[in-house]
Symmetry: D3
Subunit: 176 residues, 6 copies
């Protein structure tokens, strides 16, 4: 890979994906769903350094604070309205309300989020400069990993009690 040809034969469908065409259901805890279109879905992307995803939001839906360890993200709003933001390494929140057709950027590796504070549904197309950007949803990463991150770490980091840690773990589907 990278140094030489990757695949002996290929077809146009190796560069194609139809799975972002339709809105996905958003009747889950966060009110949002992310549908990826990366090298897992599009094998021809290997070594090409790009990928996409679709994000659907119900009213009030949140794509919770997360990072992509290997990519910058840029989004285009398909419909609806989103409050978006990222936090810099100087701990400054950079945020805006964006609407249909607007473009916004989330620099490489920084924590960011999008929330639909509008009345109707919303959707966005995200693009990444990696064929495999990866994602870490912060709350689930900390409170629902397997095996679990210890209560002592989380209690101290967030300055909350062990009981409060365990309640968050329970709600996010993690184990103590």
């Amino acid at each position: 890979m990278n140094g030489f040809a990757c695949k002996a034969s290929f077809s146009p469908s190796d560069f194609f994906f139809a799975g972002l065409a339709m809105p996905m259901p958003t009747n889950n805890m966060l009110g949002s769903t992310v549908t990826p279109a990366n090298v897992m879905q599009i094998p021809g992307l290997n070594t090409l350094g790009v990928s996409m995803a679709r994000i659907d939001f119900g009213p009030g839906g949140l794509n919770p604070p997360h990072t992509h360890p290997r990519a910058t993200e840029i989004i285009f709003v398909l419909y609806g309205e989103l409050d978006v933001g990222f936090i810099t390494t100087a701990n400054v929140l950079v945020s805006m309300t964006i609407k249909q057709g607007d473009v916004f950027t989330f620099p490489k590796g920084l924590v960011h989020f999008q929330i639909n504070n509008g009345k109707g549904p919303a959707a966005a197309i995200a693009a990444f400069n990696s064929q495999n950007p990866g994602v870490q949803a912060i709350a689930a990463t900390l409170f629902a990993a397997t095996p679990p991150v210890s209560d002592s770490v989380l209690s101290k980091a967030f300055q909350i009690s062990y009981q409060e840690v365990d309640e968050i773990k329970s709600k996010l589907g993690g184990k103590r």
Copy 2:
């Protein structure tokens, strides 16, 4: 740049662009218009390695064969139907008909095109893994550069007469 901070102060609008929201007129020779959203329009993209563009097509509209010297491209069809293709370095055309919501990839540096063979208008969002992908529309690059590429080069390359070269130059707005 790249090694260190780029700008002493910034605001959210440095990462934002509203210019892709609306369809652009397509009543031109090719029946298509490309609206860029790169580091020229979004200063915060500098060193971040991504950008976007919107491509609008009238019925029959063509985004003519072109290359991006510094980027892979991935597109998402906003509406309508497009015949898309790229040509490999082994001179194989990789092409498909794609429709609303479909995603397709054009590998780094390869000649590619999109044409709207449908009955209504069409539009797509393109993303690139460079903040400044660059573009060379092949026909205009060869037949409408300033100063002009010589007739002898173009005549021999395309195996056409000097008169035919000059006719193409004239139609594409180039000088002899």
Copy 3:
């Protein structure tokens, strides 16, 4: 930068830093202190793609869950004992107890932490493959950014009440 020489003249001290030699006080909320040795402290590192840091821990001290958006980290334990871990993009916690002289790796961009569960103090030297790795301490990034991340985002992400969000914000020094 990157393309050409960076500085017209330089001295050996541009490549040197004495500030990691001594333990730093750890009598703060988390019981740990990070002392950086990157391009801010060592100007000669510019474009060279490495840096270091020293991390001191009191007994029970925590270097809380954080990411480096631009670097992989590798640490060497100077003395004491540390429980260390990172979480993968598949939400798997990879953790170990390491002691004096041990080496451990935290892959690029992933959330990781170190905690001193031993009885005495501990210290480690960290190295990064960037002259400016950046850092985001997750709890402070989310609960103490300026301007603040909204309660609605944090309440929904962690499935806690607005009151609980505000208590964490207050303890971590953030504003509502």
Copy 4:
């Protein structure tokens, strides 16, 4: 590859190629021949990021407009005289007449060409910053790909009739 050793054993000949020593015949349609010396011919080049080629020109011979999707090119004229040029993304032709011993550069991904307008033969050595630069000869890419690029695309792009498209296809060895 790239991350680790590529080959268990090797010999000096893996880093060697004798195939550029002699002029190649140029009695073809374009009056020029390109002989590559890349990772296909020199396996030791894998991951090393360089390669070479020899270009021979008869009198009037043309290395037609083409791109290298993955490399910048720099040439050294072995003998004879060449008119060389590349077109920028601002559609400016940058061209010169160069002679024996001269060096000229063709920036990454841009359309460029060389033509021998001198009376005798000419030859040049080209070097690339990729072990596998790839090449797309524009006219053949568009008019002789398999399967063929449709007449409608080419007719509209070059503003010529379907009949003219088919004549070029026929002369360049492509199918309708």
Copy 5:
């Protein structure tokens, strides 16, 4: 590699190494020993772009002039005192005496060395921005390669007699 996942399963020990904890014997010709901690010892480092090493010095011990063809190096002195230096491409020696806790940088690919001119032992931890930095100890590279570099090359390069070349080869364990 690089483009995609490297290993189907892994354990924490793939990211761990205990082999730098103890001083290594330095009773050899140079009075120093380098213990690597790179991708050979830590498989999880693959594609992550960092590694470490421990360098132990007896009194008077020398880590002789050498290069790392693929990495910048940064060191932290564990104990003792070292005279360190690198030579720039402008043939300027950049050197300092550094002691316990000090940090110093050796830019990518440049010849550098460390010598313990103190009275007791010394040790340092080195970090590299490559999982496989490679090393060429200059004297051994030139005078103890297999097959040997010819006497004519070495005699002329160092302006010494063939007999002197052979004496160095003999002392460094090389063959004539």
Copy 6:
């Protein structure tokens, strides 16, 4: 740089160099002369990642063992015959005799040399995958740096006496 345009205006001569056309005199100590054609001579090369050089050899002339800290090198023999070699990080000498028209590769950062053991003059064109490859001629780097590398380092590294070190320093133009 790298992120954006480098120069507001340019001319074809920014991409051109005539200084490699003629053989340079080789009546010096080593019997060889290197003439560079990098970003110092060709400003348009900035950020483009390639450069060239010409190497002229008298009979018996030596381009002494050296490294390029930032580039792989590939050479083409213009005339004459050369014995060429590089040493791997496993201390294996990879060497060959090459003649007019032959191509040989010297991997990134490794020590390498060329010597003209033929009866007449020889010359080669070298290409690099950096616009500024840098060079360190090993003997001069060690024995003729300013300020000088100490006798104790060189004596121990090469296992020669201080007197022998000083003799080499003297012959290579260095100071004690």
